[in-house]
Symmetry: D2
Subunit: 465 residues, 4 copies
């Protein structure tokens, strides 16, 4: 079942085959390989490079083979790689015509096409997953539109925010990830077929026609680049790694919020796990795994960049190692993206704990400083005065609202009794009334915009397909 | 010179300051910080948040300070970070009005803006460098338009190609890099100013106006995301890492081609170095360094992704570590991109050695197989027959052209005397006549297109600025 | 000031020098370079390869130069690298004899020696830092020997532990790191001098004598390996990366414990920082930076491994890139290790908050299961029964101690009134009475052993030096 | 088959199980898990924590289960993880006694033990593979003991060396790798069993006895560290990554030497592969794959370090992600180490090409400089003079031996006719007569030492087992 051998005097050593054969990994590309071969064969027939009837025979044979793979009737084993396997099985089935399929094609450009077709599908898949995750965040944010919680910087309570505002911050990250997968998809939609082994095919192929038949946007401009380029693989894995890094941040918050000390969140029993020894435990395993898996996808990215380092043109066998890394990145990301929506949607958000946390700290100290600014003090001085008042309140075991007017006026004669009204969480929230701020009206607006964007995209996508 | 301290009872320990102060690194952002502060101050004045005259005073003060930094009259030292330094120096110079500059702004959104402004400039810089490198490759490719050399896969001679075709493969990579920097630039052009510390500013800022004044495309949609997002930093570093990986491939080829055994290339004396012990050595140091530096930039990318892993919202001090990594990636890439054009343009390409290498091997074996296909044989069989003839020729110490017609006809009766004409390098080249192939006409076409694309971009860019 | 050039017809292009000269980085190795050169010169003199008087002249000249570098009287600038600079300055000072210093030596083996000498010092430095950090952890653990706190898994309260036990877990990590730096130091103590450019020196050098003079354990066994090996650099950086990963875990805990919600720890004002906008903030910046810097050191490790990937023997210029990575790793780690002891020793541990947290949860549920086991139930059933009782108590808003005996006996008739005595934190702690467990007696024992180990090492080390 | 659940009101969601269950990966640890459980059960019996007869029943049951796993009679599926599966199957087989096996043990310490046992075996396996590779290199080096070839720096011909010397450079790297795996093995041989979930077991376990029964050196000193530490996993993967980096260098040389231009090496047909399109190709696929796989193992290392970053104590679910990375690193390295010996031993070394390459360049220029030094010239000047003579010879299209005595004496009157004798490859080789140098006598000595070291180790190892 080997596609070469004429000049060789010996059989390949079994150990080398076991080491180098890629079928156990690239068998996953059988759909893409068959799709590409069909488009190639049809073009060969149309261009008269092989007979029309031969082309038809090949196409029918490939389609039948695809059905057999899909049903499991034919096992994906017994050859060097998926390309050899498909060609060998085709020869078995349709005879000599099959031997003409590889005319004007090399495994180099064929493999480059297959991985591009795979990546296009992967981009579409992960984009759909991202939309579903954004939809879940949005649903919770809408449901909890009045839930106030502490916003943190340095994990120190900073200013009151709305839970919906916090969740929308993640939606923003995932929108950017969605865009990056879109860029990657667009750049992948270029056909390398016709690049041959490295120098271009020696037949009058209609490269553009093949690309169109495959739904691609265009053809590669340089044959040597076409067979040695793995940019789309690396870009996809980078987009996955950055998305996974975003997920690790969300996961970290889910873990922290699930702690007894924070108590903001309780994952549902169905999305929690226990301990083999401590009967009381309810662990946020899913979130922890998502966090940990960020390392894995970044590892895949490093693998790819290092594989490419220092490779001369054109194709080198090292490039075969691209697949496991990118498949692993894709599978890992898909798993994480898909587990999150049900995990989040079934979780219980403890509004009381969040509210209490807002009231306990000094999350209104900035508003006190801003108050002084509005009364005419320079911000730097206002910051200093407010800092001193925090220290005073802390020493008395109270909050800023617990200080007497006299205390305030000792610190600055600018303070009037109207200061107290500005120190409530509601006033603090309302004050953050800039575009993108946490003021309730702004958050509601952001929710509407996010919902609208989602609707438009889903409509487009589903209308299209 | 500290921007906080009101609530603190003790001075910061010197050791912590030495450990945590970022001025030695972020001093590099003084231009961006001043630009951002000017836009912020002007808006504060226009919006009536501070007095018009105060705003004017601040702007004039900042402009003067910028001149003093540029001339070296004022040292970039003596504060916690560049933001504190500039504010402190401004207070010294213009007095109390300066204390109003920080109204409605936090170092969190300010730092986020500064790095975005930096990245926009860095993207433009690296894009310009990439264009210059493409121009150099193009110049050589045009000059060597008739130079034939072996194309390699697996570092084994594969098929004849034109040197220009090989160089254009790199141009393709660099065009993609150029596009990626463009995507990154576009995504960076969003103003985070107004996000405040994390929840949005507590003043009626005109965020859009500030963005426009800074030449940005829009404003961030969520304040928490705005201050904790470092996507643009990571994307830039990824674009740099992938570019650097491409450079490492070119560098590897320069090293290999410079070896005595290949001898395709001799770097100019001015771009070679010697040995402290071996008097005969002429080393391609520059190329080796470029190759090695790929590790460094990938290291920077890993650093950034790992820094971000598992960080809860919003700002955390860990984010301060983004700067050294991205500055290092930018400087490293800039250095490599800028050394290559003169190194390449002054190099001597040894046409004779390349031509000889094309004639020595069996680079025409594919053409023999293709010949048999055209005579009606299936490609798989043609491959087998050609492989056997290679083995025969090799055993006789000759090339395919050195075999007698009888030898050919023993192998296959399909062969006619016209086979010899197809075995010359010129015929092999000419046969690769698909779009993107190495046929001379196709390469000339590709050169024209590359030149045109370059001209259009340069015209646009220089017309714009 | 160049060490080569005889065969070159042109001067090196300024751009290449700026790109490739390593002096700005390797100037840091002046001490090591002078030490190595002195040992080499003395041996050359003793072996009669150069005159004794010449050797003396060189040694005196190098010593004087070292003093001038140390005092800053001579600037570290103006040559290609530190080796060239020192030789050139020596020629200036002592004349022609200086030109004999490089006899039997190449920059390849010289640079390999310098970095080894540097690494030996760096290992010793970081080992000392680790001991100081262990000492600080130990001091706190001894001070807080009775402080009880919740032990966590999955950031969920798990079982009561002693704070000292928790801190000693980090001491264990740092002991392992200390050992790894020791292994690295030992493996670095081998002299490559005499390997020449790659094939061995062409003079009868006494390699062993030079190694001894430098305090090294032996000499490299293969000259080609000697000049192309960077294992010691990579190993050091790995040891640093793993240490830094340990530090990131401690730092994460410091951040979490400093949150208002946990409240277990308050860093001293002198080791906290504030916000430019929120007057109430006290941020654990130092801990966050330590956490973030783990990314940086892992980035350095990746850089090194990738630099080495695919380099043929022997020396290649890529290897020059090893220095910035390893220097950065060393400096970063040193900074983190050195800031931690004062930060930890001045922090305030809130015993009340920790105690309260132990009492609130169900941290004694394992002890209840263990109680049932001792009464004869199989562990798996005991776990099930205890889990049910946790659910019951939770539904009643109480702890396990708050359940009535009847509740227990409904769940299992094995329970007697003696169960209550086993549910206190003290009983839970005492029950973990295995070597390495958190039972107070075990922790005291572990503290004694750690203290003893530390004393012995410090005594040895300080006695030795 | 779940080991927990008493306190849960709902079943685990299928999606979470699919996402989080580790059995598909950790099933590979069934041998280690059974070994550890047997040692634990025996100790429980001896210590009277469970009945002697119960312990016996458990041990017999586990042994039988192990046989069934080994024979494939029982499938490794149907539970959350390997620990749960084995316990559940044991309950099925021996009834209630099986439920006592988990007494005094948690999956946390159990999993920590299993991976340590695995790593010990992996270290031994890779050490054996390294010895076999060293033996192969040694065999070739001995066979080719008189083969001379060019030594390179910067891929430029530098000085003549013996092929054996070159191969021994790799043996040195692999010896160091062997040592590092030994260090890792030693550090792994510590039993964490008894650490319980995190705080130590609540039973009077004899931890030391269990460790001894498992052939381990000792027990962990701190229970929290014991369950959250993955240092051994990271160290192993680092040792693998550095080994793989060494392999990538050897692989690069195999690829370069196999090129038509170098032609030093021809891999056997059985260890070469062909092209699906170019009939003449013989590709060194195996070497390329080894080179590429270095990226993969470094990716695994990055994954592990990033997974550990910022994890609070003690166990977190993220740690489950350690296994796929370390298994992949181990499998990848094993594959590469095992394919190399047959690939190298069957390869044909082209002595004629190597010899010719030595004679063509100016590899004797250093010897000319050294000659001048012996005649009294300072090395720096000698280097300059030799460089000038290289330039002269090059301009005449000859080598240094081709210059007339007059030419030499024009350059320096110190030159006598005896210079010519020193310019032959043999003289150059002989001159490198320092320990570790390439002089034939030194290389023979090094071969003997390497052979001796190998013999001693193999004898020890095989005598031991």
């Amino acid at each position: 079942m080997k596609l070469w051998g004429g000049r060789f005097e010996k059989e390949t050593d079994q150990r080398l085959s076991a080491f180098g054969d890629s079928l156990p990994v690239d068998c996953r590309l059988w759909r893409e390989d068959i799709r590409g071969s069909i488009a190639h064969a049809e073009m060969l027939g149309r261009a008269g490079i092989i007979g029309r009837d031969e082309a038809d025979l090949i196409v029918v044979g490939l389609e039948a083979l695809g059905k057999d793979f899909a049903s499991g009737a034919v096992a994906l084993e017994g050859a060097e790689d998926i390309h050899s396997l498909i060609e060998a099985l085709l020869v078995e089935r349709i005879g000599p015509a099959a031997k003409k399929l590889h005319t004007g094609r090399s495994r180099n450009d064929q493999a480059a096409l297959d991985i591009r077709l795979y990546l296009i599908g992967a981009c579409q898949g992960r984009k759909a997953d991202l939309l579903a995750l954004i939809a879940a965040l949005l649903e919770i944010a809408e449901r909890e539109v009045d839930t106030v919680m502490p916003g943190y910087t340095h994990l120190q309570r900073a200013q009151p925010i709305l839970l919906g505002h916090h969740l929308l911050a993640y939606a923003e990250m995932f929108w950017r990830d969605w865009e990056r997968f879109g860029d990657c998809e667009r750049r992948a939609e270029i056909s390398p077929l016709g690049a041959g082994a490295l120098a271009g095919a020696g037949y009058s192929l209609d490269r553009v026609q093949v690309a169109e038949a495959l739904g691609l946007r265009g053809i590669t401009a340089n044959s040597m680049d076409a067979v040695s380029d793995r940019d789309a693989v690396v870009e996809f894995t980078f987009a996955a790694a950055l998305t996974q890094t975003h997920l690790s941040r969300l996961a970290e918050e889910l873990v922290i919020w699930s702690s007894a000390e924070f108590g903001f969140l309780a994952l549902d029993d169905a999305f929690s796990t226990g301990s083999s020894i401590m009967p009381q435990k309810r662990n946020p395993d899913g979130a922890e795994l998502i966090r940990g898996k960020s390392g894995r996808v970044v590892g895949d990215l490093v693998a790819l960049l290092m594989i490419l380092k220092g490779l001369p043109l054109a194709y080198n066998k090292d490039l075969q190692e691209d697949k496991e890394a990118v498949f692993d990145a894709d599978d890992t990301l898909a798993g994480c993206l898909q587990i999150l929506p049900p995990m989040l949607l079934t979780a219980h958000w403890n509004r009381g704990r969040m509210r209490a946390a807002v009231e306990e700290g000094f999350l209104n100290a900035t508003d006190l400083a801003d108050y002084l600014v509005r009364k005419g003090m320079a911000f730097r001085e206002a910051h200093e005065v407010a800092g001193g008042l925090v220290r005073l309140a802390e020493s008395r075991g109270t909050g800023l609202s617990g200080l007497a007017l006299e205390d305030y006026q000792n610190a600055s004669p600018l303070v009037d009794p109207d200061v107290y009204a500005l120190l409530t969480p509601e006033a603090c929230l309302a004050a953050r009334d800039v575009p993108g701020g946490t003021a309730p009206a702004r958050v509601r607006e952001a929710l509407r915009e996010c919902r609208h964007r989602l609707d438009v995209i889903l409509e487009c996508r589903d209308g299209r397909s």
